[in-house]
Each structure stands twice: as C-alpha cells, then as structure tokens.
C-alpha cells in the first residue's frame, strides 16, 4: 500500500515536470494567437530557447542570464515571424514552418559544440511548509524555480487577458482588427509585441528542457513538443487555465509511458512514445467540430493578415 501511494506521488511529480515545457509553449502561443497571428514555429522557438539558454548557462554559469538569453532568442525569432506575417503579410502557415526549420538548423549548428558538456542547471527548491504537505507537497512544491514561474504565469495571464485593459485590447485585435484600428489601436504594433512576447515565453519552455528537465543539450531535443503545443492551444481554447490542464494531461501521458518502461512492460518503448501524438490527434478531432468552435470562439481574425487598405 505504501509503495503504491509513493509510486503515484512520483508519477504525478513527473507529470508536472514533463508538462512544464509544454505549458510554457502553450502559454506563449496563446498570447501570439490572441492577437490574431498564428505561429506554427513553436518547435523552432523552443529549440532556439533550449540552446541559447544552455550556451549562456555553460559560458557564464548564471541561470538568470541563461533564461533571459533564451527569452531574447525567442523574441527575435518572433520578430522575424511578425515581420513576415504582419508587415509582408505572407502566409502564416508557411512562415511558421520556416521558423521551425530555421530554429532547428540554428540550434543544431550552434549546439554542435555543446554536445556532451555539462552546464549549470536548475536545482529543486522545496518551498517551505508547502512542500511538507503530504502528497500535494512533493507533487506540486518540490520543483525548480521555472516550474513555480509557470504556476504564477497561468493566473497572471488569465487575469491580464480577461480582466485588464491591455488584455481587452489584445483580444480586440485578435477578434476584429478593423474595429480596433477604428478606435485608434495600433494593430500592427500590438501584433508585433505579442508575437515577440509569445516567442519569448515559448522559448522559455525550450530552456526548461535543457536547463532543468534533461539538463543537457541534445540535437532536436524538443522531439515534437512544439507541435503538441500547437494542438494544445486549440484544446485549451486560447485560455491559460485550460492550457495548464492540457499540458499536465500530456505530461501525464509522457510520465506514465516512462514509468511503464521502467516497470518493464512488454510493450515496446516505440509504441509507448506514439501515445502523446495519437492523443493529440484524438483531442483535435473532438475539439474541432464546428459546434465547439463556435461556442468557444477562436480569435476571429486568427491567421488573417491585417491591412488598412484592403478592408474586407
């Protein structure tokens, strides 16, 4: 009995750890998509975040600088995406793919010198009192700072998006850029801003992988998490709170897969690794019927470049 409950505790703890990079990726993309810009480049953003965080941690030993570097790298790639999709108005799908290719390539080339080296990494920081609560303590409060940051980010983002004036402006730009423009809001600037901010937060998810989760640099270490993140944005219906549930659901599937492997199941690890992707397809299927889409209301202008001259 005792063994069983500790197994559940460690699995749930692993769930939070595995869900955190996804959570950052999803939260970042929610900001971007709320402004009406679709960014499919999460995979590339995360990889660039992972390598720049790792490289800076390796050369300076300062984790704060590492996190900042990852966020700046994400913001720069976000800027590229914004330039192509907002200013040049090119297809957002293709631009997102190009971001992923660039991110994969840059991280691979840059990371060549960092394979197999050890850098400063985030350590577990038990929160006093809270971590002593039975069951909940080890599951939720025996993690590193980045995990706690992600906890904070969820309610903050929720409040920001739904309860503040800048949040209202953000939603207006994503819903109806024409109306926002008519009220004197600079649609282009808002979209640039949130594409960069979203890129920075998504890149943080990548940095979590290289600085806390795996604690080293491996080429293509995101292994499709960026794409799962895109599916989770739909699943979460652009809501930060639901994003948290989605991210932990997927983290749970990953953690469970690892645990089953460790327990020596006869199922091949390759089959277990398929589960998150199959689950994503299933989730997409059940969240994408017209009815649900109408009810939750995706940002109406998502994926549509805005132009002052060509009003539709």
């Amino acid at each position: 009995m005792n063994i069983d409950s500790s197994l559940i505790t460690t699995t749930l703890q692993a769930t939070v750890r595995a869900g955190t990079p996804l959570l950052f990726a999803v939260l970042g993309d929610i900001f971007t998509e709320r402004s009406g810009v679709m960014n499919l480049g999460l995979e590339g953003l995360m990889l660039v975040g992972a390598i720049s965080g790792f490289a800076v941690s390796y050369s300076t030993g300062n984790l704060f600088l590492a996190v900042i570097a990852a966020m700046i790298a994400g913001a720069v790639l976000g800027l590229v995406h914004a330039f192509f999709t907002v200013t040049l108005r090119i297809n957002q799908v293709v631009s997102g793919l190009a971001i992923t290719m660039l991110g994969t390539g840059i991280s691979g080339l840059w990371g060549k010198g960092y394979i197999g080296v050890v850098a400063e990494q985030f350590k577990t920081l038990e929160i006093p009192f809270l971590s002593k609560i039975p069951f909940i303590g080890p599951v939720l409060f025996s993690h590193d700072v980045l995990v706690y940051l992600s906890y904070l980010l969820v309610p903050l983002m929720w409040f920001y998006i739904y309860r503040t004036k800048p949040g209202m402006i953000l939603r207006a730009v994503g819903e109806s850029p024409e109306a926002a423009d008519a009220r004197g809001i600079n649609v282009f600037m808002i979209r640039y801003l949130y594409t960069m901010l979203g890129g920075a937060i998504t890149a943080l998810g990548g940095a979590y992988l290289s600085l806390a989760y795996t604690s080293m640099w491996i080429e293509n270490m995101t292994a499709g998490r960026g794409w799962i993140g895109i599916a989770l944005v739909l699943f979460a219906t652009w809501d930060p709170v639901k994003a948290m549930f989605g991210a932990y659901l997927f983290g749970g599937v990953t953690a469970l897969g690892l645990r089953m492997q460790a327990a020596g199941t006869t199922i091949s690890s390759h089959i277990l690794m398929m589960f998150p992707y199959i689950l994503t397809v299933a989730v997409l299927f059940f969240t994408s019927t017209e009815k649900i889409k109408l009810k939750v209301g995706a940002p109406a202008a998502l994926g549509v470049p805005y132009s002052r001259e060509e009003k539709t």
């Binding site: 192509f84 108005r89 691979g108 080339l109 990371g111 390759h270 089959i271 397809v281 994408s288």
Partner: protein, 370 residues
C-alpha cells in the same frame, strides 16, 4: 515617415523565375555568412575562415552538379523528393496543408517492406512483384492520409497538426518494426530488416548507378501536368482552393474534393516510399529519410505547384542534399545546416514574392491621412 503597402496589379511572368532564383542565391549568401562565423568561431582567423567557406561552397556544388557520379547521386536523392513534392502539390492546389509527406513516405516504405518480405515474397516475376509492392506503398500512403482527410471533411479538423502528428506516429511505427519484430537476425543488431528479394529490386540504368524510379517520377509529373491543366479535376480543385464559396456555387462537392486531394497526395508520397525501398535501400531501416517530406514542402512552394518545375527544383535540392553530405564528411559540418538553408530559402522566397506583389513605399504621415 510611414510604410505604405499597395497591391500590384498583376505580376509579370519573369517574376516566376526571378524570385525563386534570387531567393536561392540570397539564401546561399546568408548561409555563407553563417559558415564564415562558424569557421571563425571554431578557431580560424577571418581570412582563413573566408577561404574555408569558399572551398566549402566549391565542394558543395562541384560534386553533386559537376561530376557524373555526383550527378547520379543527385538523381537518386531527387526521386523521393520529387515523389513527395508532387504528392503535396496535389493537396496544396486546394490549399489543403498536408505537412504529412514524411509520415506518408514512411508508411509507404513500411507497406512496401511488408509486401516484399512477407506477403508476396514467393513471386519471382519482377514486373508483377514491383507493381504489387508499388500498389502496397500507394495504398497505405493513401490510408495514412485518409485519417486527416476524413477528419477534415467531416469534423473540419485542422489538417496541419494532424498530418504532422501522424509523421511522428509513422516514424515510431517503423522504429518499432525495425528494432522489434522485423529486425534482421543476420543484421549484426542494426535496426534494419532483411534485404528485399531480387524480384523486388528496381532495375537500374547507367551501369547500375541509377534505378528506374527516376523514370517513374518523370512519367508521374507528366500525368499530373495533364491532370492540372487539361482535366475538370484540375480546374475544379484550383477553384476550390481559391474560393470555397465560388466552388460551392459551381456545384463542387468540397468534402469529396478534400478527401480525394489528400488521398491522392498520400498515395503519391507512399509510392515514393515504396520506390525508395525497392530502388536504393532494399530494406527498411531506422531513420532512412533525412526529412525528405519536409524538404518537399519547400520544393512544392518554390515550384509554385507546377509538376515539371517540381522535377527541376527537386534536382536542385537533391544536389544540395548531396552537397551537404559532402560538407558533413569533409568539413565536419552538422546536418542542421541544410535546415538553416531551407528556412532561409522559404523566407526569402516568400519575402521576395511579397515585395513583388506589393508596392512598398515610404511616404510622409500626412499623405496617408488624406
């Protein structure tokens, strides 16, 4: 000052060639700068890094395009790229974003192996065997694309993420087979299957240097060119891609067209997987594709979905892949370089088009207000 962007009325024809060519040249230039920095950072002086970059470029182009054996390699690499690129063009014409070429290629290769090693392994007749294996690849490729097709047609599920997720599932599936039940006991523990029987190996040309897959893909391109330009399918699918409303008024069944577009797209990519297996690999193995399915996306775009242009661009990108392999071997550069290059091509191509499609001018703020 303010940037003003106006749409141009019609694009001159020469832009269709100028923009892709300029974007490739521009990307090579930017990649040159990246290489320069890379060499410099790995401990060379700037002058030495510069000459190293130049010689790397010479290496990258002289072998795949300037040497007959290099050209054979380029042709071999071109085959899977062109198959998947042609397949994708079939869906992209309807603006259906099939990003799943990689997975469909893998599933085609899986099905071909299933056929060649287990289902039809008694068949001695080369012609029957090759036809059957090819059909297996096409059928399973189509089946794999049927998942996003039906989801999109009936539940309006976004096909981008679904096709992408299925790529991962397909790759893990092949890994499962080659590490597990299909692993060749005589393979020295490498993750690969047994070799195809002689009858399931494609005939070759040029003293055995190039298999006949290259002829197949040329025939396929001609057929598609005909379908796109001369049949009602070609006409209707491009209307459906341009304007769904107009297509509905014209009585085009969008759901049906969506399903067929994705099925054919997947079938062609799957066939490419079968050809790759029968032509060059002769056995299924872990990670046999260095991302052909993703490169094919760029190829289809660069070629503006024109089948003959897809052949030409595939040849070019096949050569770049061969050249990149040379760089990996002789300059110890990572595979990642090719992704940077592809991302750059995609961006400069699209950016170039945007610049040519829109007239961008700087005007005084006041002038806009009027």
């Amino acid at each position: 000052m303010k940037i003003k962007i106006e749409k141009r009325e019609g694009t001159p024809f020469y832009m269709n060639i100028l923009v892709p060519a300029a974007s490739i040249i521009f990307s090579l230039f930017v990649m040159g700068i990246i290489l320069l920095i890379f060499f410099q950072r790995s401990g060379m002086g700037w002058g030495e890094a510069f000459s190293e970059t130049l010689s790397a470029y010479r290496e990258m182009f002289s072998w795949p395009f300037g040497n007959i054996y290099g050209i054979y390699q380029t042709l071999l690499k071109m085959v899977p790229l062109a198959f998947v690129g042609l397949g994708l063009s079939f869906a992209y014409r309807m603006k259906i974003w099939n990003i799943g070429g990689e997975g469909q290629l893998y599933m085609g290769a899986f099905a071909a192996t299933w056929g060649a090693l287990f289902l039809f392994n008694g068949i001695e007749n080369k012609f029957i065997m090759i036809t059957l294996v090819l059909l297996m690849g096409a059928a399973v490729g189509a089946l794999w694309a049927a998942i996003p097709a039906f989801m999109k047609a009936f539940a309006k599920t976004d096909e981008i993420v679904v096709t992408l997720m299925l790529n991962y599932v397909a790759i893990f599936w092949v890994d499962y087979l080659v590490y597990g039940p299909w692993k060749d006991p005589k393979g020295y523990n490498f993750p690969l299957t047994a070799e195809y029987p002689e009858s399931a190996q494609l005939p070759t040309m040029f003293n055995g240097e190039v298999h006949i897959g290259i002829i197949m893909v040329i025939i396929l391109a001609v057929i598609l060119q005909y379908v796109y330009s001369r049949t009602s399918w070609g006409f209707n699918s491009s209307i459906a891609g341009d304007n769904q409303k107009a297509a509905k008024y014209a009585g085009i069944n969008i759901g049906f067209y969506t399903i067929v577009a994705l099925l054919v797209s997947g079938a062609i990519a799957g066939m490419g997987g079968a050809v790759q297996m029968m032509g060059i690999q002769h056995r299924l193995q872990h990670g046999f594709s260095p991302g052909y399915g993703y490169t094919a996306i760029i190829i289809a775009w660069l070629a503006k979905l024109n089948p003959v242009a897809i052949l030409l661009v595939s040849f070019l990108f096949g050569g770049l892949l061969v050249g990149n392999e040379q760089l990996q071997m002789f300059y110890r550069l990572p595979l990642a370089l090719i992704y940077i290059f592809q991302g750059l091509v995609l961006f400069s191509l699209l950016g170039g088009e945007a610049i040519f499609n829109y007239r961008i001018s700087f005007v005084k703020e006041r002038a806009v207000e009027e």
